[in-house]
Subunit: 359 residues, 2 copies
């Protein structure tokens, strides 16, 4: 494993200091098993197990002995053994498409809070918008026999079928799934329509849209809502004013430059998430266009910095934390009772108008 001889591959200045330390323990402290606990307490492993799991059928005096023996030995149950025997795990997998996107980390917090409250752990996996990575994590989830999965689907049907074929409880968030699963979505299409209508009402005339890759439902929905609004106000929708890019700043930057360099450039933009908004604002600055006055902007996701730019950014705020919360609740319900009918929950996004959508 010379690969790990050291982090020499990091090419930034680093100081490595080796400290022959005085803390080194002498022995690996042979990890205590339930048998050790039982022996020390002078009971059978069965009784030890019952006491440790708080079963009421065990004599209080014995239970106390077991508990103190366990404490003295620093006993920690062996998870794999317990899970193997019980054929179940108190672990949820949360597979999201981008750990660095605040929208998804908020979802994570929602999931975690609910899970924690009932003694479940959450393991967070980052599929990175990459179907293969998603598939690997789904495999891991299956192999570890997690109790359930919350997924923001990146890949195509086959990945998800792995889960449904095994009847692993599954909740899809953010993006719908053509499968047997609960879903928690946002009515992003009508929010996009509302945001676009707002721009129109503010006097913007040639409104453009920068959205995510084709095939990602949320990206498509935002574009559709945008078109809905244009149509409703009897405007032509023109492909000239719509652009797609990865859900990232750099792609949105290119798209915005491209869009705004046209002779008959848009005078307003609907932007599909906050990372993209960063790229768009950079583009405006590069082209010396004033936010609001020259180009109105509404972006999805209420980033903490949105009100810091000048003028403050109008946004479509999505209830990310609640998405996670609801998803976890649905998942727990299904784990408890797999016969529940599948549901789709649609939460509302909220338009928050600030200065960037006014001339």
């Amino acid at each position: 494993m010379t690969l790990f001889a050291g982090p020499s591959s990091v090419n930034i200045a680093a100081v490595r200091e080796v400290h022959c330390n005085q803390f080194r323990r002498v022995r690996p402290v042979g990890v205590a098993t339930i048998n050790d606990v039982a022996a020390k307490a002078g009971v059978s492993t069965a009784t030890a197990s019952r006491a440790l799991n708080g079963k009421s059928t065990v004599d209080p005096a014995l239970a106390a002995r077991v508990l103190s023996a366990a404490a003295e030995l620093g006993y920690q149950p062996n998870g794999p053994a317990r899970n193997l025997r019980r054929q179940e795990t108190a672990v949820l997998a949360l597979i999201i498409s981008d750990v660095e996107n605040p929208f998804f980390t908020s979802i994570a917090r929602g999931v975690e809070d609910v899970a924690q409250a009932v003694g479940y752990s959450v393991v967070l996996c980052n599929s990175d918008e990459n179907p293969e990575k998603e598939r690997r994590y789904i495999d891991v989830a299956i192999q570890e026999r997690v109790a359930g999965v919350v997924l923001s689907p990146t890949g195509t049907a086959p990945n998800v079928d792995l889960l449904t074929a095994r009847r692993t409880p599954l909740v899809a968030v953010d993006r719908p799934l053509p499968a047997a699963a609960d879903m928690v979505l946002v009515d992003t299409r009508s929010a996009a329509k509302q945001a676009t209508t707002h721009l129109i009402s503010q006097g913007y005339d040639r409104i453009g849209c920068i959205t995510g890759p084709a095939g990602i439902q949320t990206a498509d929905d935002r574009l559709a809502g945008y078109k809905d609004a244009l149509r409703a106000s009897k405007r032509r929708t023109s492909a000239r004013f719509a652009r797609r890019a990865e859900f990232r700043a750099d792609g949105a930057f290119e798209a915005a430059i491209d869009l705004l360099s046209q002779p008959d450039r848009p005078d307003a933009l609907l932007v599909a998430n906050s990372a993209m908004a960063v790229g768009v604002l950079e583009a405006l600055s590069k082209l010396d266009l004033r936010l609001g006055a020259d180009v109105g902007v509404v972006a999805f996701d209420d980033a903490p910095w949105a009100s810091l730019v000048d003028p403050p950014l109008s946004v479509v705020s999505q209830p990310a934390y609640d998405i996670g919360k609801v998803a976890a609740q649905l998942l727990m319900a299904r784990i408890a009772d797999s016969s529940l009918p599948y549901t789709t929950t649609t939460l509302n996004a909220t338009l928050i108008t600030r200065g960037s959508s006014t001339r």
Copy 2:
């Protein structure tokens, strides 16, 4: 489990649609074990196991039969069983103090990329700057017998001792540990000094500092570096100009309002992270103070939006991704060889000067 009857506790408009779906499978598809695979392939479980694990000692023809049997049955190894038997897990736990802080999610990516490359999975846990939660997750990590732990320590020594007592490979990131563990840190003190010196050189005279809670090493270091710089330039350091708050926007907002409302207010501020910077900029705006001209600001962490504010925000950029990468490499090295001496790696932060630190 009526708690989970539904997500009715979410008090925002939600549409719940129940779809009696056409996808429902008929049977739970009794999960295939290695015995089923062996039977189907007409070999013993031992041979099946060997084939599945790619051992070279098995007849190619048999191996092929096993593999196709496994594929047909949709066989997925039972992780708990395997881990129990092998007494090891290819899983790393990463316990960070705030999932919503980009600094830590960047670390997560670094850890993940290294782990993935060698077939390890990473489970991400959010201790939320809460020693009790940290302790719970450390317990989980121990119980699941993870191969190693990367930790940004929140709690005090006892938590970590749980790990070291069991000799669980451990790498601390961001904050030092008085224990037997590798550490990956940032020379945040000298970076803070450098940033403060920069402010002085730009003609700011009464420089303040808003840092994190006492006892968190990174918070203390930033304050210390700030004082170093003042002392080096023969200025008095005054407690009047230093404030502490949680590493969050709201706390920093209060602190900044407090600081800047003084008659002899600071004319520049060193801010300890990007979330706090949001609070500080909000305070400036509320008090009608101009960034740069009235109050120079340098903040830790190069957030994507830093160059969008006007004037652009000067920052101390920390090599978060590399911290994660190095930490994971060290952890893998130690997993492979527990006798390695403990090391402390210190990476450099970089001052990026932009408009906010110029008059």
